[in-house]
């Protein structure tokens, strides 16, 4: 370690942002926090790109017929919106960006288990993103983000770089997951058993399990698609005896668990936020922890519900339908526990909490509409309509992205050491909530009335819903963009953040703000998890401090 520093007794250790300088020190850093920040920058850039494509789609749909782009570019815009948002933003969003920043500190560890692999994951992400951009430059893709065969084999669009990008991004995700698994197993300090871990770690751990188990299947699928394009091996090509439905099975065997790669870490973040901002011990800790694991396992058993109308056997559809409903159980357990945590809590409506409350509401809508789609008869009616679009946006955007924003506001002061503007943050959080619902609630109505997804044109009766949806999308877009701007400004000019601005109990709030290179100058004492009694507001510096200890702690060390 060339950039290792030695603490001297008289001078406090410099924080990780100051310990070395220059772009080279960032490009070659092995520090998980810096890698997390680089991920964050990349992901926010991709978020704006994906958001731009979303606005192109929504603007085009403002009137029936052509508004701004033709059919071909409309197809490309919604494909790019989906591919960029899924593969570049939501999948890596919470685990790679927030997880990288926070996971080792929450464990009291100096770094992740394999820092070099961590940096390699980041560069793989960059290469994958570059492949996606290449695809856009070569004329973009019009297959939808799912790359269904046989169309993806016959289209003249630039499928090859996009598929290669997905393959590389997949390995970035696998290596991140692998790193987190080993870190959680091998770096828990003495006194932190599995059930003394913050729930965020349980969620990240469950996510990592899915990342390691499911993503390779996507990798082999897109690799075969890639080879198909180059060598025409025919595995998915019915003209040569191949099976295009096999592609759908393989694709969803990954991509359904991938939905849980997106949502489980979001649930972890929310578990932290709800407890902290209710000043109350999380209700049903073990149930939330177990439900993360059971969601991770159940996620592997339900991929067939994407193929109800794809020629799957009747028996298989019934089995998958039944299994799909079981997912509701762990999801509901979490929601009930969060609501029970709020009950009689001392609720503080700071920005992260606004996002957490939004999450609970939006996730409930997203989850319950999922039950509609799991019912076979109703699914035949709703399949490939705007109902499905609205449903998965409620889960992927309304839940995951909202939790990502909540987590970002929550941990931003810790990592960057600066506060964001609170009032503006609250305003934007409300903007996101209102804009989001305005965008997607009308889509439920449209879908139930038969508006098919991915259509460039529509009957005039749907006009009002599309227009409401587009207006909502702009409110959403403005709220998001404002946040990116104020985060960038606050990193430069924001007021200095206290060590524990929210009075949270997990280990990262014991670390200095911003943390030192190896997170803790000396091994931290593990505080009692979700016990807010000892934390009092500090009028001098803002934030919270721990009351002078009165007697021994109850912790297990």
């Amino acid at each position: 370690m060339s950039n290792a520093v030695t603490a001297t007794a008289d001078k406090p250790e410099p924080n990780f942002l100051e310990v070395t300088r220059g772009w080279k020190s960032w490009a070659t850093t092995l520090d998980h926090k810096r890698i997390g920040i680089m991920y964050l920058v990349g992901i926010l850039t991709a978020l704006m790109l994906g958001g731009f494509f979303a606005l192109v789609v929504r603007t085009e749909l403002f009137f029936p017929g052509k508004t701004i782009v033709n059919q071909l570019w409309y197809n490309r815009a919604f494909t790019l919106h989906g591919a960029v948002m899924v593969f570049l933003v939501i999948v890596p969003g919470i685990p790679a960006a927030l997880g990288n920043m926070i996971l080792p500190i929450q464990l009291g560890a100096p770094d992740v288990a394999f820092p070099k692999l961590n940096l390699a994951s980041f560069y793989l992400w960059c290469v994958g993103a570059a492949c996606m951009l290449t695809s856009i430059a070569m004329g973009a893709i019009d297959t939808g983000w799912t790359f269904y065969t046989p169309y993806s084999l016959t289209t003249t669009a630039a499928v090859i770089p996009a598929v290669l990008g997905v393959f590389i991004l997949g390995f970035s995700s696998i290596f991140t997951g692998l790193n987190f698994l080993v870190t959680v197993h091998k770096f828990r300090p003495q006194g932190m058993g599995w059930f003394q871990m913050p729930l965020n770690l349980w969620a990240l751990y469950s996510t990592a399990v899915i990342q390691v188990l499911a993503t390779p299947v996507l990798a082999i699928t897109v690799l075969l698609l890639f080879v198909e394009h180059f060598m025409h091996i025919g595995i998915f090509d019915p003209n040569m005896g191949g099976d295009p439905v096999l592609f759908q099975h393989f694709f969803w065997f990954y991509s359904h668990p991938a939905v849980y790669i997106m949502i489980i870490p979001a649930m972890g973040v929310i578990s932290e936020l709800v407890s902290t901002f209710s000043r109350k011990h999380i209700f049903g800790y073990r149930f939330i922890a177990y439900s993360s694991i059971s969601l991770a396992l159940l996620s592997f058993l339900v991929w067939g519900h994407h193929l109800f109308v794809s020629g799957q056997s009747k028996l298989a559809t019934m089995v998958f339908s039944a299994l799909t409903f079981t997912v509701a159980i762990p999801s509901a357990i979490k929601v009930f526990n969060w609501v029970a945590t709020l009950y009689k809590g001392d609720i503080r409506l700071e920005t992260p909490m606004l996002y957490a409350l939004s999450f609970i509401l939006l996730f409930t809508i997203g989850g319950l509409t999922g039950l509609f789609l799991g019912i076979l008869a109703i699914d035949v009616h709703l399949h490939d309509t705007y109902f499905v679009v609205a449903h998965f946006h409620y889960v992927m955007m309304g839940s995951t992205l909202v939790a990502f924003l909540g987590g970002l506001h929550y941990w931003w002061p810790k990592i960057i050491g600066k506060m964001y503007p609170e009032k503006l943050g609250q305003l934007c959080a409300i903007g996101v909530f209102v804009g989001f619902n305005l965008t997607f609630l009308p889509q439920f109505v449209m879908g139930a009335r038969g508006m098919p997804r991915r259509y460039w044109d529509y009957d005039p009766e749907f006009t009002i819903f599309h227009q409401l949806s587009t207006i909502g999308a702009y409110i959403l877009g403005i709220s998001m963009f404002t946040q990116v701007v104020y985060f960038a400004i606050s990193a430069k000019r924001g007021p200095k953040a206290p060590q524990n601005p929210w009075g949270a109990t997990t280990l990262e709030w014991v670390a200095p703000t911003p943390p030192t290179l190896y997170n803790f100058p000396s091994p931290p004492e593990i505080p009692e998890l979700y016990d807010y009694d000892d934390l009092v507001e500090d009028p001098e510096h803002g934030g919270f401090i721990r009351k002078p200890s009165t007697g021994p702690k109850k912790g297990g060390h």
Partner: protein
């Protein structure tokens, strides 16, 4: 393993220099901690690898379940001998890889270097043999998907050539199941004498050549009205000839499948196979009618048409096919539809495996360099251990691939 509480203390100032091996990274407590983390990591990586390959295995199982006949037909074209040798080579390399770990643990530097060299040599040996197999298949056109073209080499007789469309080649059989039943020409009737089929098969105008399978010797139960007449004619001739034919030689009806000639056969030539062992095998030259039926997209699942009766022939009872002749027998059968899928799967699975072997070579060369520099000792042998584990997995995948592709009938 997963539940094991890792007991490590934070008493020492992590990251600020370790005593002992210089290879302990700053954020680990000690060599043991680093080794355990690495070991867990490589196991997760191997799990990932298994799932990576699982897609291919699922693909294999699925196509096997749906189109078993393809595998039954095509697995004969893989060289079991080379596959078996390669299995031995890989197992030997796995042994040397495992031995390398032991050498590292016992501080035996020379042994370590030797074992790594043996592993690398075996890996190269594996790839060389794979190269021999692949190049043979490239030569014969036994390739994946659209590249599947066993007629790539006109001067040789590739195994699959005889029944496949090979324009300009000795055997030209157009597989078109859509030849209409009405487009029957005048099939040649009566018993055919030797002189009738003593003819150069390359004569222009011959558009179809068939062996016994397309021109069937219909058995008694399948004969049509025309066939019955033919049979009667044949029996009469048999009596008239008297000694010319063996007494017990049955009269068979010669029939031709429609898919040989789309517009029906024009003229028929019977060829006798010169082979001593299979003296009862007959070939037929069929000159097809000029007007071909419109060629629709081939539908392999369409039901076969009733065969057209060509004539009858006195032949010896069918030869019992022995194991040695199984491959030869295949030559006289048309490949099942989409035989190319077998080669797609074969190349996809062995190709990806081969890439893993190639990657393994890079890993072991890296190990070799480090072991020559003397980096490994009883305190630090993690990379050797992890690489050997990876190598065992690559070996294990081959242990599955070999029987699945080469051996199972």
């Amino acid at each position: 393993m997963s539940e094991a509480e890792h007991e490590h203390s934070h008493d020492d100032d992590h990251g600020h220099g370790h005593h002992g091996s210089p290879w302990i990274q700053h954020h680990y407590d000690d060599a043991r901690h680093q080794f355990d983390a690495g070991k867990l990591g490589i196991w997760f990586f191997l799990v990932q690898e298994v799932l990576f390959f699982s897609g291919l295995f699922v693909m294999y199982i699925l196509y096997r379940a749906h189109h078993g006949e393809i595998y039954e037909y095509a697995h004969h074209y893989l060289a079991v001998k080379w596959g078996a040798i390669n299995t031995g080579v890989l197992i030997a390399s796995s042994l040397s890889a495992a031995w390398a770990v032991r050498c590292a643990q016992l501080n035996q530097r020379k042994g370590l270097i030797l074992c790594i060299v043996i592993t690398i040599v075996c890996a190269f040996g594996f790839l060389s043999i794979k190269y021999i197999e692949y190049s043979h298949k490239f030569h014969m056109g036994e390739l994946w998907g659209k590249r599947f073209d066993p007629c790539a080499t006109p001067n040789e007789t590739p195994l699959l050539t005889k029944m496949k469309k090979c324009e300009g080649h000795v055997s030209s059989v157009v597989w078109d199941p859509n030849g209409g039943p009405d487009a029957i020409g005048g099939p040649k009737a009566g018993c055919l004498e030797k002189g009738d089929y003593d003819r150069d098969p390359k004569t222009p105008g011959i558009q179809a050549q068939c062996t016994v399978d397309e021109v069937q010797y219909a058995d008694e139960s399948r004969k049509s009205e025309k066939g019955r007449k033919e049979l009667e004619a044949c029996e009469m001739e048999k009596e008239a000839n008297g000694e010319a034919h063996a007494k017990n030689a049955p009269c068979y009806i010669l029939q031709i499948n429609h898919n040989v000639c789309p517009a029906g056969p024009g003229a028929i030539e019977i060829l006798k196979n010169e082979s001593e062992e299979r003296g009862n095998e007959w070939g037929v030259d069929v000159e097809c009618n000029k007007a071909p039926a419109p060629v629709a997209a081939a539908d392999p699942f369409a039901e076969a048409h009733e065969p057209v009766v060509l004539g009858s022939k006195l032949v010896a009872p069918p030869h019992v096919v022995t194991d040695e002749e199984e491959v030869e027998e295949l030559e006289s059968r048309p490949p099942p539809p989409h035989t190319n899928m077998f080669f797609s799967i074969y190349f996809a699975m062995t190709g990806l495996h081969g890439l893993h072997v190639l990657f393994g070579i890079f890993v072991f060369v890296w190990l070799l360099i480090r072991s020559i520099k003397g980096h490994f000792s009883e305190d630090y042998f993690g990379p050797v251990d992890y690489s050997a584990l990876y190598w065992h997995l690559v070996d294990l995948i081959w242990i599955f691939l070999f029987p699945l592709l080469y051996l199972i009938h």
